[in-house]
Amino acid sequence: MSGLSFQWTASENALALPVAVLLPLLGGCAVLLLRRNANVRDAASLVSGVATAAVVLALWPVVDDGVSFELWTWLPGLSLGFSLEPLGLLFATIAAVLWPVTTLYAIGYMRGTRAAHQTRFYFYFALAIGAALWIALSGNLITLFIGYEVLTLATWPLVTHQGGVAGRLGGRTYLVVLLATSIGLLLPAIVWTWILTGSTEFRAGGLLAGEAGPTVMTVLFALYLFGIGKAALMPFHRWLPAAMVAPTPVSALLHAVAVVKAGVFAILKVSLYVFGLDTLSADDIATPMMWVAAVTLLAAAVVAIRSDDLKRRLAYSTVSQLAYIVLAATLASPIAAEGGALHMVAHAAGKITLFFCAGAIYVASGKTRVSELDGMGRHMPWTFGAFMVATLSIVGLPPVVGMWSKLLLLQGTLDADQLLMTAVLLVGSVLALAYLMPIPVRAFFCPARAQAASGEAPRTMVLPLTMTALACVALFIGAEAVIEPFARTLELP
C-alpha cells in the first residue's frame, strides 16, 4: 500500500514542476480578463502569487528525489524538460515567495503614483515570474536558454512602462545588451557544448568534464559568463542601471531579484553542472573570469559611492554584489559555491528591501537623490529602519543573513588558495559599507534640510518592506536549513 501511494506522489511531484511555471501565466491571463475591476484584478495577482509560492514551497520535502518532467521534443534528439534540484529550487523559492510580497507593494506603489496601464504591468510581471521559474526548474541548457530569452522580452514592457524618451532609451539599452550577449555569446556556447558532448543536460560533476582541452574550456567558460549578461559582469553591466527607468516594484523584484538572480543562478548552474568544479579548478580554466569578476566587484562599488541618484546607487551595488556570486563560481571550491548560493538568497532579501525603501521614499516624498534624504528617518522610521537592516545584510554584518554568505565566501577564497581574492572581498565589503551605511545614518542623525515628507508611505508598501527586512534577520537564524540541501549535493566534508 505504501509503495502504491509513493508512486502516486512521485508523479504528482513531477507535475508540480510545470504547474509552478504555469500558475503565474494563468495569473497573468486572469489579470487580463479581470481588467475592468482594479480591486479584483489586483486580488487575482496576489492569489496567483500566493498559490505559486505554496506550490514551490511544497516541493522542498521532495527536493532530493530527482523529480523531472519532460515537456516535449523540440528538435529530433533535443527535448525540453524540467528537473528539480536544490539550487534551482532555492532560486525558484526566492522568486516565488517574493512575488506576492512585491505584488502587495506594487499595488501600493502603482496606486500611490497613479500609474497608467496597470493591467499591462501586472500581466507582464506575472509573465516574467513564470519565465524565472522556468529558468529555475529547467533540466537542460536549451530549456534554460528559452526561459532566459522569454524573461528578457517579458521584462522589456515593464522597463519601458513609463514611456517617454527615457523609457525608450533605457529599454533600448536593456534589450540590446541582454539579447546581444545571449544570442552572440551564450547561444554559440550552448551549441558548442552540444557538439562537444551531444547533450545539453545538467549533470552532477559536469557535462563537459574530460570532453575538451583547457584552451577550449577557458574560451567556453568566458562565453558562458559574458553571455549570461543578466549577471551583469563588466563590460556588459550597462543594462542594469539603464533598467532603473522602470517603476520601483520592477526594479525591486526583477532587477534586484528575479532577472539578475536568473543570471547568477545560470552561472552557478553552468559552473557546477556543465563544467563541474573539479574541471574548473584544474588548468586555471576559471582564473581569467575570476579577475573579471573581481574587477567588476570593485569598480561597480566605486561607481556606487559616486552616484547621488538612489536607484542608480542601488543598481551599481547590485552589480557589485552579483560579482561576489560570480566570483564564488569561478573560485571552483565547494565552500565558495555554497557561499555563492547563500549570497543569492541573502542579497535577494536585502536588495529587495532596499529597493522597496527607495520606492517608499519616492512615493511619500518624491525624493530620488541620496543627498536629499537627511533627517527623513524621523518621519519614516519603519522605512529607514528596514533600510538599516538590509544595509547590514549587504555589507555582511551580524545579526543578518549576509554575514553567513560573506563568511562562506571568505572561507572559499582560503579553500581555493586565492588570498588576493580574500582581500578583494574584504575591500568590497568596506566599499559597500561606504555607499550604503551613510544613507540610514544621515537619515536618522542629521538635521533635515528642508521640510521633508510628512509620514510613511501607504501601508501596503511599508508592510512588504518590513516583511523582507524581518526575513533578513530570520534567515540569519535559518541559513543552515535553507542551504543544507544544496550543501549536501556539493558533498562538503
Partner: protein, 506 residues
Amino acid sequence: MTAQLPALQVIIPLLCAPFCVLLRSRTIAWLLFLAAAAGSLACAVVLAEQVSDGEVLSYSMGGWRAPYGIEYVISGFNTPVLLLVSTIAVIVAVYSRRSLAAEVDSKRIPLLYACFCLNLAGLLGIVATGDAFNAFVFLEIASLSSYALIAMGRRRRALLAAFQYLVVGSIGAIFILIGIGLAYGVTGTLNMADLAQRLPEIYGNRALSASVIFVFVGLAIKMAVFPLHSWLPDAYAEAPSAVSTFLAATSTKVAIYIFLRFAFTVFGATLVFGTLTLDRIGLLLACLAMVIGSGAACFQSDLKYLLAWSSVAQIGYIVAGFSLVTASGLEAAYLHVINHAVIKAALFGAAGLLLLRLGSVRLTDLAGFGRTMPWTFAAIVLAGLGLVGIPLTAGFVSKWALAMALIEDGQGLVLAVMLVSSLLALVYVGRVVEIGWFREPSPVIAASAVTATSATSRSSTAERLPRSMTVATWTLVLLSLYFGIDATLPATLAESAATALLGSGG
C-alpha cells in the same frame, strides 16, 4: 489517378490560368486560384506521403521514357519545397481576395489571378521536373508572370520595379539557357539524371566548366544572392501586398532549390564545390549578404523595403548553410528555406493589413500603430522575433541548426557574421516595434482611428480589418511559432531532403 499526381499538381494551376482570363469574373478567378492552390497542396501532401520512406517517384510526361521524354521526379529533396509553395499559395489565396480588391483596379483582377496561377504552376514545375530544359521553361513561366504581378502595384514606381526585375531577370534567364545549352552540347542530353551520369567522364572539359558558371550565375540572380540582389527590394516592396507575400515566401526559395538540384544532383558536388570552389565564393557572398542586407534594412524608411532588405540577408543564411556542403549545412539551409518563408510571408501579410488600413507603410506614418491596431502589432512583433531568432520562434530553430553546422565545420568567422546579422535584425525589428509602441500616433493613424470609431461606433481599438486577411496572417504567424516550439516536422523534412540530395550526388 495517384500515378498522375506529379504532373497533376503542375497542370491544375496551369489549366486554371486561361479560365481566369476567359471568365473575366473576379470571384470566379479567385475561386479558381484557391482551387488550384488547394489542389496542388493535396497533390503535394499525397506525394510527400508516398516518398516519405526514401522512395523516388519518376513520371514520364506523355509516356515518353526518360532520357528522351520529359521526366518528373519526386523525392525527399523536393517534397519540402512542393509542400511549402502550395501551402503558402493556399494561405495567400485566402488573403488575396480583400487585399487585391483594395489595391488593384477591379478590371485587372482576373488577369492578375491568371498570372498567379501561372506563377504557381511555374514554381511547382521547376521543383517537380527532372529535366534541365523543362526547368528553364518553368523558370521563365514563373518569372514572366511575376513581372506582370509586380507591375500591378499601387504606385507608378511598381512599373519601374517590374521593368528592372524584367531586365535583370532576363539576363539571368539567358545565362541559365546558355549554361544548359553548353551542357547539352557536351553531353547530348537534357535529362538531369542522365546528365549526372555522363558528366563525370568529361570533368575538366572547359565547356562544362563554363556551363556550370553560366547556370549558377543565372540562378544567383533569381535567388537574389548578394551582389545580384538589386531587383529584389523594389520588386517586393512595390508589388501588391498579396503578391509580395507570395513571392517573398516562394520565388527565391524555389530558385535556391533548383540551385541545389543542379549543384548536387546534376553537376555533382565534387565539380561544383571541389573543382570550381563555389563553396568558398558562396560563403563569402553569404557573409556579405547577411551584413549588408541587415545593415541596409536598418536604414529603410518604408516597412516593405525594410522587409525586402531583410530577405536579402536571410538568403545569405541559406547560402551559408548549403555552401558548407555538409549534411548538417544542407539541413540548416532547407530548414531556413521553410522557416524564413513562413516568417517573411507573415510579415508581408501584416504589412498588407497596415497598408489596407492606413494607406501607407512608411515608418513615419506607422508611429503609434501598436495602440490602434494591437493585433497587427502583435503579429509583427511575434514574426519579427523570428527574424531575430528568439527561442520558441522558427527563426531560432534555423539559427540553431546553422550555428551547429558552422561550428561543426570550424567556420567561426561565418558564425560571428551570422550572429552580427541577427543583432542587426534586432535593430531593425526593434525600430519598427519602438515606432509602433512609443511614438505618439501619426496623423494617418489618428485619422484612421477616428474613421474606425465613427464607422462602427465601437472602441477605437476595433480594427475593422477583413477577417480573411487577418486569419491568413495569423495562420502564418502561428505556423512560425509552431515550427519554433516543435520543430519535428520541418526538421524531418529538411533531414530527408539533405540525405536525398547528398545520396543521389554519389
